[in-house]
Subunit: 354 residues, 3 copies
């Protein structure tokens, strides 16, 4: 079961063509994505109401999609507006239309009650189209339940183990008590002051090997499955912790995870920087380092999923540093329970450091 009354990322905008139809399984449901003539993205149930054919095997006709089987044509609202073989259109001839909004280069889809879809609830990923920022991102196919990845992202303690040869040295020693629940969000604030510049920042921001820095990694989880991090380093003592980032470099690690099924997920993520905008090699390097590390995570998660497949209800032991992940999971479980009880909650986005 999934939270339904919320925005998920369905695709990168660049994945959705004007005439090509994109089929994607989201929350176990087949969805077809395409663009209207004005470029706006449409998301429809990818199953013709007539004979269940995937609309994605059909054709875009103007703003509409024509089923490739018998030509049933649906407008963006999901209403069937043409049945070539007959004049009359039965009133129940329609497919589900999902509210879709393209924002920050991502196509956001509302899988719940359409009337409740409120664009102001879309999570903030503005770094993906802010001229002050450069980014590089991708979609990965995860062989695992989406919450396994949320837990992974909420947690820094795995870095020295999963990423011993990549990001291993970049973690900030976790300190307890820093994860905080704010409504349905979970935040973690992490600081390390007057420490050597880690290799990650030396690589992308040119700190010298001798440099000492104040570092931070701030995390915001918002349900159902967004994890955004503000990662930075500033010259030690230059006042970053007090808010002065004039001597700092920062990146944003931005993650949106959408369940495909209970055991597979679509993983959309990007890495953004607000420095070196004239040097594309920085975004490239930052992306590649993170990409390599995420593949390590995905392999570990696939291993977890294989064990879950063998024993879905094996117990788990939590420790203090799991607190962010555990709280995130509880938030999601509570939201699902509320929806099942017929009382869906309104999810508010929570800004990360801009």
């Amino acid at each position: 079961m999934f939270v339904r009354n919320c925005w998920y990322v369905a695709a990168w905008g660049s994945e959705i063509g004007r005439l090509a139809l994109l089929r994607r399984i989201l929350l176990g449901e087949p969805v077809v994505l395409y663009r209207r003539t004005d470029g706006r993205v449409v998301g429809l149930e990818d199953r013709c109401c007539h004979r269940h054919a995937p609309l994605s095997a059909g054709r875009v006709r103007g703003d509409n999609v024509e089923c490739g089987y018998h030509g049933f044509t649906y407008d963006p609202s999901g209403r069937c507006i043409r049945i070539p073989a007959q004049e009359t259109i039965p009133p129940n001839a329609r497919v589900r239309s999902y509210p879709v909004v393209e924002r920050h280069r991502l196509a956001w889809i509302w899988m719940g009650e359409p009337g409740a879809a409120d664009e102001s609830l879309i999570e903030d990923f503005h770094w993906l189209d802010d001229p002050a920022w450069r980014f590089q991102g991708e979609r990965l196919s995860l062989e695992g339940n989406y919450l396994l990845l949320v837990e992974n992202l909420c947690d820094l303690t795995h870095l020295p183990f999963v990423h011993s040869s990549s990001l291993g040295g970049t973690a900030i020693t976790p300190e307890n008590g820093q994860s905080r629940r704010e409504g349905n969000a979970v935040t973690v604030e992490r600081w390390a002051e007057n420490v050597p510049a880690p290799s990650y920042f030396r690589a992308i921001a040119g700190f010298s090997r001798e440099a000492r820095v104040d570092r931070w990694m701030h995390l915001v989880f918002t349900p159902p499955a967004f994890v955004r991090l503000d990662i930075g380093a500033a010259e030690a003592g230059s006042g970053a912790r007090k808010g002065d980032r004039s001597r700092a470099v920062t990146t944003r690690n931005l993650n949106a995870i959408t369940p495909e099924t209970e055991r597979r997920s679509h993983y959309f993520w990007a890495q953004a920087q607000n420095f070196g905008l004239d040097d594309p090699s920085i975004a490239e390097l930052d992306f590649r380092m993170t990409h390599g590390a995420f593949l390590e995570d995905m392999k570990m998660i696939a291993g977890q999923q294989a064990n879950l497949d063998l024993a879905p209800d094996a117990p788990r032991v939590n420790i203090a540093t799991d607190s962010a992940g555990v709280q995130a999971r509880r938030v999601v479980e509570a939201l699902i329970a509320a929806e099942q009880a017929g009382k869906p909650q309104r999810l508010s986005p929570l800004p990360l450091t801009p």
Copy 2:
């Protein structure tokens, strides 16, 4: 669930060797097919009663089949007649024997109560061994429930969509009210008079581009899954509709579908002509055009099945032109219900235009 008390096509005769054993899953049951010394086809449960080994992994011995595991030997009635390791043969040592009849180059199998198997109930596919006709056919493996294909064949309205680049232009505009239920059969009579000769007939029968013709496509569905079409064109006004086919060319499109499981099917089909018998290129061309179109259908049906796998009970909206397919499905459902109630119906074949 399937209709059991009826004849299905198990194989093309040419697929069944004298000594090679053919394993085939039919209606979810393993069946082994081979030939006696006199050439008659035998169909046995492909599961030795002793240790469940597939008999198809064994050897043909005279008219009998010897299990490749311990040599249990079964005669064509399914009775075990030899157990190499002991003298006595337990009375329950037998496998199920399915009545099989080879007719019209097809091997027909009766999956129900053997005593009820009546050869006169075998559907008419005489065009496959009538010297006045030439044909070419094949077996395809369909990734979908057999009734999806029945619906596909009962319906012309998909031609401009699925076959836009192949048979798209060959359809006769469907008119309502022409499908008729006759007992357990469903027939559709379709006529178009004084119309240009379609490319299909120009290609195989040499009509000129200017020619005007009277055309027909008559369909007969008989359960569980036979669809036969009489397709033809005659010089316009030459009296074809009144029965004078002296100026006509006709083909037969002949389809027999056998469930492998609920989601896979064996698809036997052929295309036959009664003209140009001395020119093998005509049969070849007719076959290839239809073959290409059928692959398009099969891809669409696999897409439907993928959606059914996600949501088996999603509702369907029917339209007027679905009437033949809907009636066909109802016939099958009623037959299954009757069998489940212990009252199997006797299915009679229904001739198509000879």
Copy 3:
């Protein structure tokens, strides 16, 4: 369901490295195998208690294994002794530890109540490390339930059929009444006196084509799935049946089968000889002949399993020569029932001819 309170073979000792971690599914449970610094084999649940990650994706640290996800470190008893992210270790932080004993070049694992693990109950496979013997063995992956293979090994009557081109001529004509249940073991004693030397013994032991021999094949099944055979031939009349093996050559065929799941198995087997120890080609030839035959068996068993997948409860007809296999199956079923009833039986090994 499986018998749990008994020793199974988890791996060949040579499969288990000092630092490499071996994941293996046994009885449906994930197990990781590695060696301590002193070389002793450890078998732990391959699922970290924290987040279910496979420990096999981690690292060996001294005698312990460190999870590759967050560094939870387990000692060979399964107790978590280190959690890098925090000082305190929750008392329930542990994974299951399986008693493992390496003996006769095999790693034996106890899947039941650890307190009941008694090394004296390990089955006798001493031929695998007895200097008077030479052997060659392997692990095969069987696509079938383990009891199908037990039945196969308990039975000689399949040789002329499954192995017609390999071992077919080597079988001793089965005689009834020779299989005997001794406690939980099943034994079969088979003799053929004053018969031609079969090709198998001519090939590996150099009997001439004219030689006449007294032959035997003695089998011992012990649960859950060990089948060992003493196979030999002696100069006819030289007294082998009375116990004088001075003119005999003998081999041992040694089989240990461990369920992976209900429909897949790990098959460990070896062939040992006590003659020609200075000629490695004999062990090689004996191994290759048997290996080829076992592949034939495994193909047949995969066919049985395919039929079982279609109809798990299809009835079976037993014959007299099945008696050893049927008794073996009954032994296993009774042991499972006893465990289910909370009264696990103590299984004693039964020696085969040394």
